[in-house]
Amino acid sequence: MSIETERNPWMSAPPESEDEQEQVEHLRKDHLLLDPVGMEAMNQDALGSMTRHGRWTWMLIVVLGGLAMMAGVGWLVQLFVGLGFTGLNRTIFWGMYIINLVYFIGIGHAGTFISAAFRVMGFETRRPIARAAETVTLFALAAAGLFPIIHLGRPWKVYWMIPIPNQRQLWPNFQSALEWDAMAIMTYVVGSVLFIYIGLLPDLAMARERTGVNWRRRLYSALSLGWRGTDRQWALHESVSTIFAYVIIPVMFSVHTIVSWDFAMTIQPGWHSTIFGPFFIVGALYSGVAAVLVAMGFLRRFLKLGYFIREEHFDVMAKFLLIMSFAWIYFYFGEFLVTWYGNLPPEMTILDLLLYGEAAPLWWLMIFCNVVVPVGLLWMRRVRRNPGILFVIAVFIQVGMYLERYLIVGVMLGRPELPFNYSWYYPGLEIPIAIGAFSFVIFFYFIFTVFVPIISTWEVGEGQFLHGLRKIGRKITKFKSDMH
C-alpha cells in the first residue's frame, strides 16, 4: 500500500545531516502531526487498541458492570416501593438524582466542545482526542438522560412529558422549565449521537476492511453504511460534519443554560439567580474538560495509545482547564458578591450556611478542589506535561464540581423561606445508584473502546496530510496546507 506517499506528498526527504535530524526530532516530539508513521501503521495501532485490554482492564470492566447492575437492582426496588429509601424529605425534594443529571450533562459538554468548537476554530490539537472526548459525551449523556427518569415518583408515566395529541386533550406544560429541559436534553442526545456517528463512519469502514470475516466484520459493514471513501462521500462528510459542528454548539450552550434554569427559574433562595446560565456552562466545560483529561489518562496508560495522545495534548488541555478554572472562579465570586452585598435574609442564610454553617466543610472542600488545586498547580509546565499528576488534578476537579452541584441542590434546598422547615439532606439509596451510574459510564466507555477505534485515525491522518515539515535552505520549518 502506498497510502503513506499518497497522502503525504509534501513530506520532505529524510533529513540529511545530524543537525537537521536533531531539528526534525525536536519538532516531531513536540507535535504529533509532524510524526507520521504511515497511514496503515497508524490504522493498525488505533485498531490494535481494541485488543489491547489487559487482564486488569477486563477485571475492572467486570467490576464496573457489576456495580452498574447493582444500581439497576436498586432502581427496581425503588420502582416497586417508591422513593422512600432515598434521603429526600419534606423540604429537600431534589437530591443526588438531579445532582447526577447536572453533573453528567456537564461532563457531556466537553466532548462536543472539544470536537465541534475546536473544529470550527481550526484547532488542530483536537484531532487525536476528539473521539475520546465525544465518547465521554455519549455515555455521560446516556447516564444523564436516565436520571430524570430515575428521579420521578412515577417513572412509568414519563411519556406524559412528550407532546403527543391525545383524546384527553392533555399536553405538557410548555411553561415549565422541566419541560424545556426534557426537550433540550432529547435534542442534545440525538444531536450528539449523530455527530459522533458521522465522525465514526470512515473509521468503521476502515475497521471493516481490516477485520476477518466474522460477526465483527458484519457489524462494522452494517454500521459503516456503505462508506467507501469516494471523493463525493468525503466531500459530503466534510460539509455535514462542519454543519453539525456549527449547529451543535448553540445546542450545547442552550442545554446547560436550560438545565440551570431548572434552578434559576424558581424562587428558592440560592437558586433564583440570573447568572446561573453562563455559570453552569462554565462549570460544565470545567468539569467536562477535566473528565476528558481523566479519559485521556486512562487511554494512554491502559490502551497504550502513547503515539496518539501525547504530552502536548495534555499540555493544551491543562491550559484550557486553567482558563475554565479562572472563569468558574469569576462567576462563583460574582454570584456570591451580589448575594452578600444584597444582604437579603433568605439569601444570607444560605451564604452563612455555606461559609460557616453545617455545609462549611463541603464548601471549603469544594473550594480546595476547584480553586486551590488547579490554580495552584496548573501554571507549571512540568505539571501540565505530566499525565499522572494531571489525572489526579482532574479527579480533584470532578470531586469539586460534584460538590458544587451537591451544594446547590442538596444543601441550598434545605433553607426555604420559612425557617421552621429547614432541613438537611442525608442521601440513602442515591449513593449506590450514583456509584452505579459512574460505573455505567466507565463500563460502556471501555466496552466502546473494544468495538470502535477510540482514536479518529482519519482525522489524525487528515491532519498529517495537511501539515508537514519543509526545508528552506538550512532551516526546517512547519507548514500548513492551505487546502483547508
Binding site: 391525545n166 383524546q167 384527553r168 386533550q169
Partner: protein, 174 residues
C-alpha cells in the same frame, strides 16, 4: 453451527421468550374482565322489559347521591318473596336473605383511580342512564357499554355550553 449449539440456542431463545412474553400474556389474560354475577341467572333484560321496572326503582341513589347504589337484598325480596319464589335463582336469593348475607355483585363499571363521578349531578343535568350505561334493558348480562376513561368523559364535556367549567381537572379529580 453444530447441532448441539443450535439446540442450545433454541432452548435459550424459548426461555427468554417465555420470560419476556410470559408475563405479558399472563397480564392480558388476567385483565380480561369477567362479568359473571353471583346469581348468574340475574337478567336486567327480564326486569326492565318483562317486568317494566324503572332503573331508579333499584338504583335509587342516582338522583340524589353521587352513587346510584346497588339494591339491598331486602329490596330484591320485596318482590321475590312472592314473584317466582320457587325458581332456582330465586331460591339462591332467598338463601342469601335467610343467612343475612349480602350478595357480592361484580362491579361492571370501574372508574380509574383518583376520579369522582357524581351520579345526581349528571342526572339532574338531564342525562339518561342509557347515555352512559347503554341499553341495559336489552342485556341479560350487563357488560360495559363504555370504558369509562377520561377521553370518553371529555368527549361529552367539551361540547357543553359551560365547557370551560366542565373541563376543569378539579371537577372530577380530587
Amino acid at each position: 453451527m453444530s447441532r448441539p449449539t443450535r439446540v442450545w440456542i433454541t432452548v435459550i431463545g424459548l426461555v427468554v421468550l417465555l420470560v419476556f412474553i410470559g408475563p405479558f400474556i399472563f397480564g392480558v389474560l388476567a385483565s380480561v374482565p369477567n362479568y359473571e354475577q353471583p346469581i348468574v341467572e340475574f337478567s336486567h333484560k327480564r326486569h326492565v322489559q318483562n317486568a317494566g321496572i324503572d332503573c331508579l326503582y333499584c338504583h335509587s341513589g342516582a338522583t340524589r347521591s353521587p352513587v346510584s347504589g346497588i339494591p339491598s337484598v331486602e329490596k330484591c325480596m320485596g318482590c321475590h318473596e312472592h314473584v317466582l319464589s320457587g325458581e332456582a335463582p330465586i331460591v339462591k336469593l332467598q338463601e342469601y336473605w335467610e343467612n343475612g348475607e349480602p350478595i357480592s355483585w361484580t362491579r361492571v363499571y370501574q372508574l380509574p383511580r383518583y376520579v369522582h363521578y357524581p351520579h345526581h349531578v349528571h342526572v339532574s343535568a338531564g342525562l339518561n342512564c342509557e347515555t352512559c350505561h347503554g341499553n341495559v334493558g336489552e342485556m341479560d348480562i350487563v357488560t360495559p357499554a363504555q370504558i369509562p376513561n377520561m377521553g370518553w368523559c371529555i368527549r361529552c364535556h367539551q361540547g357543553e355550553e359551560n365547557a370551560v367549567e366542565l373541563m376543569d381537572c378539579l371537577n372530577c379529580h380530587y
